[in-house]
Symmetry: none
Subunit: 400 residues, 2 copies
């Protein structure tokens, strides 16, 4: 459903919708056992929920497309990720709760290591500590850009955000990150004439930073990529008439939630913290996005066993969400991160929805194999919110 139609059909009521996202949920069979992470984990409660739910898979962006965190989540929030696209710089900035203004241009920065000849030897500067990153960025803020305002904010390890604030700045600036080692760092350049002024500022910053960093090895140079401006998107309140809240500990997911107008609630790192926050705020909102990071982290690390453990951790804690008895409870993921691939993948993602007025399903388990018997089939991830809205009685009839 496109947002114009959603805006036309959406109506308010007093139902509650919960979207619980296990980041990187989908998996692949372990070659030793032939069973995926979900098929290996003991997940009694999730399996029980599957028996009561509408079951199937979500396709985050499209067939064969491996999504980043942004597209994977935006789709689940009802926004077509091929239409609502955000630059890397913006994703990093919102990811650290930076208050990005509409005219700002943000870029993702890496501290890196170059050798005597100026060739990149390590794009991540040996993953310097976050503390060291913060010291360096604090000094880089002192660079004078002739009137334009400058923000240099640490993210984590070698990663930082550069924000340029001033009149007439644009995102038409090429990356200075060649995305490989053994080559020099390109100078800042514009991709069209309207980016000239911004590229000049980025170039001045890079040049002065290089001088300052000369004796700071391993972080003796920096790379910039994904110059971007904050998009101005319709909010979930505007489109879907929801009061949405995000329960996410990691800044990246809080940032994504903010881009669609969610209120971000303070929450600790553990799933028990998320459940507690959900309960405390139950009466204040009618849509909750609850994010669980560690399934993805384990998958990214290629740690099959830890991903299984994290799934079992979710299974133990999910009861706290179920007992709030939301009108619609969606359990799924933003993309697959099969441990055997140690990275994001394009595979459809397990999904189930417990709500009134679902057809009886034949799924006895919440796993890649069992969900194939679900009546939902594989649907675009951007359709799960409209479907949830329908089951919550929040969508009016289309046409007379």
């Amino acid at each position: 459903m496109d947002l114009d139609l959603a805006r036309q059909l959406s109506q308010e009521n007093d139902t509650k919708i919960v979207l619980f996202v296990m980041d990187g949920l989908g998996g692949l069979p372990h070659p030793g056992t032939g069973r995926s992470e979900l098929e290996t984990a003991h997940t009694t409660r999730l399996d029980m929920l599957a028996k009561e739910s509408l079951c199937g898979f979500t396709l985050p962006v499209g067939i064969g497309i491996t999504p980043g965190s942004g597209p994977g989540h935006l789709a689940l929030f009802g926004y077509d990720p091929l239409v609502y696209n955000i630059g890397r710089g913006v994703l990093e900035a919102v990811g650290i709760d930076f208050d990005l203004q509409p005219a700002d241009v943000a870029a993702r920065g890496n501290f890196c290591t170059i050798d005597d000849r100026g060739l990149i030897t390590d794009r991540r500067a040996g993953r310097i500590s976050t503390e060291r990153c913060a010291e360096l960025t604090e000094d880089l803020r002192k660079i004078d850009l002739d009137g334009a305002e400058l923000f240099v904010e640490p993210v984590r390890e070698h990663r930082f955000v550069l924000v340029l604030r001033g009149d007439g700045l644009t995102d038409a600036v090429a990356d200075t990150d060649p995305q490989k080692e053994g080559v020099p760092v390109p100078e800042a350049s514009s991709t069209s004439a309207e980016g000239d002024a911004t590229a000049a500022l980025a170039g001045k910053f890079a040049k002065e930073a290089k001088e300052y960093l000369a004796d700071k090895a391993p972080a003796n140079q920096l790379l910039l990529r994904g110059f971007a401006k904050r998009p101005s998107w319709p909010s979930m309140a505007d489109v879907f008439r929801l009061r949405p809240a995000a329960i996410a500990h990691y800044p990246m997911y809080r940032g994504l939630a903010k881009l669609v107008g969610m209120e971000t609630l303070d929450v600790g790192p553990n799933i028990e913290d998320s459940v507690a926050t959900l309960k405390e705020n139950w009466d204040k909102f009618d849509y909750f996005f609850v994010h669980y990071k560690y399934t993805d982290s384990a998958g990214e690390d290629g740690d099959f066993r830890r991903k299984v453990q994290k799934l079992e951790e979710v299974d133990a804690a999910i009861r706290g969400i179920v007992e709030m008895d939301p009108d619609v409870l969606m359990i799924g993921g933003d993309h697959s991160t099969p441990a055997i691939m140690a990275g994001h993948s394009w595979h459809p993602v397990p999904f189930m929805m417990r709500a009134r007025n679902t057809r009886a399903d034949a799924c006895g388990r919440f796993s890649e194999r069992a969900l194939q018997d679900g009546s939902l089939g594989t649907i675009p991830a951007k359709e799960v919110l409209p479907l949830a809205m329908a089951h919550a009685g929040r969508l009016a009839k289309y046409g007379a």
Copy 2:
């Protein structure tokens, strides 16, 4: 398939295609038994057909979208309901067999009740009788609109159709129905300059009607909405090279069929009448849309048992259609109307197609659960006509 491509590929031959629509066919499990209407009904013949058919579901408009009667049928006729949209006024007019001209502007009217202060207290005037509605509309026809022709036609209870006929009229007129009570009736106004003349006529009609109705409580005022002109769409003859006929008793469905260029045949209210009309006209057409209303009526009334009975009534009579041995027989619905919801819903609709050259299916029954084993899966309803055309040998190869 969009209509341009359909026009390019369609070719004539002497096959017969029948679309049998059980209005509101799809259902949901009864909480007492866990079985849907179709799963409860004894439908030996439909089940036998399912064993010989390509089986699955149709999605009328989109995931989560509850269709009105218009979009649900237009999709089955091959017209994308998000593209081929009709205004409420037109639907009401065609729904009473009013012969709407291309230049006419039609609006849906409600008689309503206002209090001493002019605030709406009942948008439906206590649902006055259809007879009373007819008396009032007859008098309202006498209003003089300075040259423009005026039609005021009763529909049912408090509902009527207003048609304005004259040169240069447009549908750029705002509703005078605020869709809520406790507020005054807005005056007619245009939504753009080109609607000014039409809005002035609508305003004059509303003003004089108000004076006339002043002492006719509870119907002492009226509301107008959905100003619309008859769309000029390509016909099924033009696009699909079919000679299509509609066998539908209710005016609404006859009207929808007319919008896509079907010839509407005279037919009585019962399914036996439909079968007889089909047989009588068998040689004159090559596409028949046969409409059965009562599954929807029972569902809308929340009468699970009656819906079951109506399905069994269809099962008994379907033999008369089957024995005509159409080259393609489609059996489905325009949308779901689960009795437990007592209204239209967004759920995919059971569908089967018996034809030459279908793949073997695994469905032993025509029911929501059994059809999940069908090889068709869930397809957009607008694709069933192209699929039927293919099985009838009426679609040429695409590309060399």
